[in-house]
Symmetry: C2
Subunit: 226 residues, 2 copies
DNA sequence: CAGGTAACTTGATTTGCGTCAAGTTGAATA
DNA sequence: TATTCAACTTGACGCAAATCAAGTTACCTG
């Protein structure tokens, strides 16, 4: 059985359900299914039938895609409040991507059927969803531009700064292997290692450990441009 | 005064207005404003107030963004039937990008106000729009992955093949400067020049000229993997 | 038609970073 | 506590492609 107030809390987290009246919100909450995923387990895998909208209630998830050449590519890291939206929109689509939980994670699910009904019922939800997707498109465009024009060092610094500002800055501790970070930034673990070392020797305090990167002096990073 | 049948023709081109009933379609057509843009003129510029959805009725437009480092980055090339959608979704947004017509171009415009009313009236339009944006997100994700994992040669070949298949294959003639193409693919004009030469010396028939690339033997390109 | 100029080509040089290889570290398990 | 193995570090090397430089070419304008 669902714990209903948890469902509402989860729903409220997400931009697409912001600014709805109380009734609509309650209706949405009724459609939500909660699910726990333990660290290391997969939320979904490539080839799965994509039939739900997924909302991150708590935790971190990495979404990867296998390229034609057989390489694995990290598409995005989902944080609390993010959602995986595209998949719910297409009929009969198979997942192109796999999603693995990096920490113990709680997600909320809404089936495509329910979501489509919701859109038809509430224009506000549709418009919020359009906004969210539009924003994501903008982000991706910006990211694409950055990838093509900047060096690995810049991208790494930017990524750390951006990610840390999304999280609670006081205790920035990224549960990421170098391997994953490398994949995400389109580089190799060796290069990541070298760049991080370079950052810390030039005065930026970064603690490196197995599966973790801890950032102490974030401000300094913002001026890195190599 | 609008030529009304043109407006309908334009509207029908676009995925987001597909599969609407006749009445809704007529209603949409009434909202559409047509505009001609001559080669070399700007459709919009960075800083403009973004208050319309833009649909490409005919022609080619390049959309560019200036990066923080002052470089210009080509974000996308709009072909007939494409539309610029994100901008219409956000309130009070300024354009981040500029759009220049590469050929004489005809576009259709719908104001944000009209479009939002339309969404509220017709769930079908909203869902189509969601689908279109979702597709764009998927494309961008795929593109991001490709950028990070493949060589310039591959990306160039892929781009030519994809673009030619979107257009009328019989007469593929890209009105692009090497400079722009280089920007789009994240490389330099020199490299583009070299790669194209390489393609043509290895049997693929490509005519190169000032501001143009003409592709005769497209099939051969599909096997290029360097 | 002549002259200017921007787009393009081609070559030489440099460099960022991927890849290979050989350690080193540290957590997990017995 | 010893053993093991994956994650990580560090160095050496090579290559794709950026950059620099010096021409060509072809369009445009007077």
């Amino acid at each position: 059985m669902l714990k209903h107030h948890d469902a509402i809390a989860c729903v409220k987290l997400v931009p697409i359900f912001q600014q709805l009246n109380h009734d609509t919100l309650a209706e949405v909450a009724k459609l939500v299914q909660e699910r726990h995923v333990k660290k290391g387990e997969f939320v979904f895998m490539a080839g799965d039938h994509a039939d739900s909208l997924m909302i991150m209630a708590h935790g971190q998830v990495k979404v990867t895609q296998s390229t034609a050449s057989g390489r694995e590519q990290l598409i995005r890291l989902l944080q609390t409040g993010d959602f995986d939206g595209e998949s719910v929109l297409f009929e009969d689509a198979q997942r192109q991507t796999s999603a693995e939980a990096l920490t113990d994670t709680q997600i909320c699910l809404i089936t495509r059927q329910d979501f489509q009904k919701l859109i038809q019922r509430s224009a506000a939800v549709a418009i919020n969803m359009l906004n969210a997707l539009g924003k994501r498109v903008s982000e991706l465009e910006a990211q694409a531009a950055a990838t093509l024009t900047t060096s690995v060092g810049e991208r790494l610094a930017n990524y750390l700064v951006e990610t840390s500002s999304e999280l609670d800055t006081a205790d920035f501790d990224l549960p990421l292997q170098k391997k994953d970070l490398a994949l995400y930034l389109g580089t190799s673990p060796e290069t990541i290692s070298r760049k991080l070392k370079q950052f810390s020797t030039s005065g930026l305090i970064i603690q490196r450990g197995r599966n973790h990167i801890k950032l102490v002096n974030i401000d300094g990073l913002m001026m890195v441009n190599s």
